[in-house]
């Protein structure tokens, strides 16, 4: 029987092949959507592993998370250096790393921070940042760049770069006077770190200060960071815009001695009297983010599911159109001893076979796309896709498709069953 079924299919290999292909494409689409959903969440979640709290100016938690960690959207408002010191001084705080954001270099975000960032930042559970070459910045005019920055712009350590002011690729004022020297390139992490140019807070300030004075006259490191606010900038009062930004930071990454203190510290920050602040728990905020994106995911998954339905209906159509022609064939098989149930199994089994073949090919296509497309996804969307075995959920989806395929096969199966019972000895077509 099986041999017969395969020979029959081979005889109709063109339509059968098309059917398998359409099912395969729809399955690949469905599983691809599910895979990207899963991978993007995993990728987001693994971007901030070691950080217990993120503090920024009062704003929406999602906004703060996206801008401070993922460099998506406009940075939140500045907060004062005093606030940083207050939070860093809390007994529950293990470490606190300030970040200044808002500038870009040739499309890549520039972050002002301290060397502590490289020590405490964690991604993908427990992995820390590694320098591929060179050393962390030590003076204001040094920079550490992410791997993708290095690759795209073809920068190495030792080369100098000019940082501009203001988000966006085109800036009104190119800070030609303030060249930075690259001291190190970070090893690829698959996180937004790869796309970031890191400079010291002082360097970040100097980008603005340099507008008037030039780098030679300005070395905030000499004064030490504690004196950072105010002191130096008093010299050039004419640039109020820079004065404000320079005295401030955008966000603080906080590590706690004990996770249990998280809510307590969060309350302290949220009720901080000197200025309005927000503290977020990255994990909880991610969940909030997912609840926002869920609508879009559902829509995508629904569309993909409909595409699968279309593929299966296509199979049903071809099976049913073939059916009339196959009544004679079935009458012959009945004459040599096949029963109506055998005939039904032959036709329904074909649907099962086509669906299985389609699903397998679909999975193969998906992995093919992933293998070929992973670099592009990482380059364009910063999405690091892991080529892993199908997850339980994906296998579930696959199982569902197979079950539906079998169900669809019952329709022509039942029809041919009725035909063979009704036809008797001679098919009257």
């Amino acid at each position: 029987m099986l041999g017969l079924a395969l020979k029959s299919l081979r005889n109709r290999r063109f339509t059968a092949g098309l059917t398998v292909l359409s099912i395969a494409l729809s399955v690949a689409l469905l599983m691809g959507v599910e895979r990207l959903r899963h991978e993007s969440q995993r990728s987001f979640a693994s971007t901030i592993s070691g950080t217990d709290l993120i503090v920024g100016a009062r704003s929406g938690p999602v906004h703060l998370l996206l801008s401070s960690v993922f460099r998506i959207g406009s940075p939140t408002n500045a907060i004062s250096w005093d606030s940083y010191e207050a939070i860093a001084a809390l007994s529950a705080t293990a470490w606190a790393v300030p970040i200044s954001l808002g500038d870009t270099h040739r499309g890549f975000p520039v972050a002002g921070t301290t060397a502590a960032y490289f020590e405490h930042y964690r991604y993908a559970r427990e992995r820390g940042l590694t320098l591929d070459e060179g050393r962390v910045f030590e003076s204001a005019y040094e920079a550490v760049i992410g791997s993708e920055v290095a690759r795209t712009l073809d920068y190495r350590s030792g080369r100098s770069m000019v940082l501009s002011h203001g988000a966006g690729n085109v800036s009104f004022q190119r800070h030609e006077e303030a060249p930075f020297r690259v001291t190190a390139v970070l090893r690829a992490t698959g996180t937004p770190v790869d796309r970031t140019v890191f400079v010291s807070l002082e360097g970040f300030d100097a980008m603005h200060a340099g507008m008037r004075q030039g780098p030679a006259d300005y070395d905030p490191l000499k004064g030490g960071r504690v004196r950072r606010p105010g002191a130096q900038h008093a010299e050039h009062d004419g640039r109020d815009e820079h004065k404000d930004v320079a005295q401030a930071i955008t966000a603080i990454l906080v590590g706690l001695k004990s996770r249990a203190a998280a809510l307590q510290v969060q309350r302290f920050v949220n009720e901080y009297a000197a200025e309005p602040l927000t503290a977020i728990l990255p994990g909880a905020t991610l969940l909030e983010l997912w609840s926002v994106t869920r609508v879009a995911e559902r829509a995508l998954l629904t569309i993909a599911a409909f595409v699968v339905a279309v593929g299966l209906i296509g199979m049903l159509t071809t099976l049913l159109t073939n059916l009339e022609e196959r009544r004679r064939e079935m009458a012959i098989l009945r004459a040599v001893g096949a029963g109506p149930l055998d005939v039904m199994a032959l036709v329904a089994g074909e649907a099962v076979f086509l669906t299985c073949a389609g699903a397998l090919l679909g999975v193969a296509l998906l992995y093919g796309f992933l293998l070929l497309g992973a670099p592009a996804l990482q380059a364009h969307f910063g999405l690091f896709v892991e080529i892993a075995w199908p997850s339980g959920r994906e296998l579930g989806v696959l199982g569902l498709v197979l079950a539906l395929g079998c169900l669809v096969g019952l329709v022509p199966g039942y029809r041919i069953y009725r035909f063979t019972l009704a036809d008797g000895m001679t098919v009257r077509l």
Binding site: V336, M425, T426
Partner: protein, 256 residues
Amino acid sequence: MAGPMGGTLRERDMIVDVVDLQYAWRNGTGPVIDIPSLRIDAGERVLLWGPSGSGKSTLLGLLGGVVPPQQGRLRLLGQDLARMRGPQRDRFRADHIGVIFQLFNLVPYLSVVENVTLPCRFSSHRRANALRQSSSIEREAIRWLTALELSDREILDRPVVELSVGQQQRVAAARALIGAPAMVLADEPTSALDADLKEAFLGLLLNECAREGTTLLFVSHDRSFLPRFDRGVDFAALNRACPGPSAEPVPRRRIA
């Protein structure tokens, strides 16, 4: 199933034993078959003729176990088909009966030899019989094709849909005869052939059945073949549900 198939039994016994058999198609307009009695002995070659629509094909369907019987006695090879369940009748047919249709006898995607060996796939009984004759069922298929004058390699290798109708019917005869079934049911196998081919085909089929001792029930519109058979049956006279031969064919009222 092989029980009642002993050699002596075959010669002596009744192959077909029908008493008061009645049948009506479920969507039809009344009984199509109403046969008080029909007996065919082992090895007999019987011509059954009658008008179109009189129920000849329906009777063959009943005898072959394709159409489930409704009323009356229907025994083949001493076994009661009326008492069998569907799958048992299918096995019975696979083991003991060969069928030749009027047209479209061959499975288009199988080769000539594969078409002939088809019954051996469904019946281990016929497979064993075939292997008693030849070393493989394919050899046995070729032996039958040769007997039916189809030995040309060139013909064997061609897709079956490219064969002429006469060639196709001979392939069908080889398939009906392979593995020594007790009976061959032929439903107007010659009506698509022209006169010369008719004669040739009939001659081959009758010879092979005689040689093998196979019972043959041959249905035709055409009673001119009668002298070449052991016996003829006028279906119009046999079947009480059939209007007289002078009457118009049974009104074919179909449910729209």
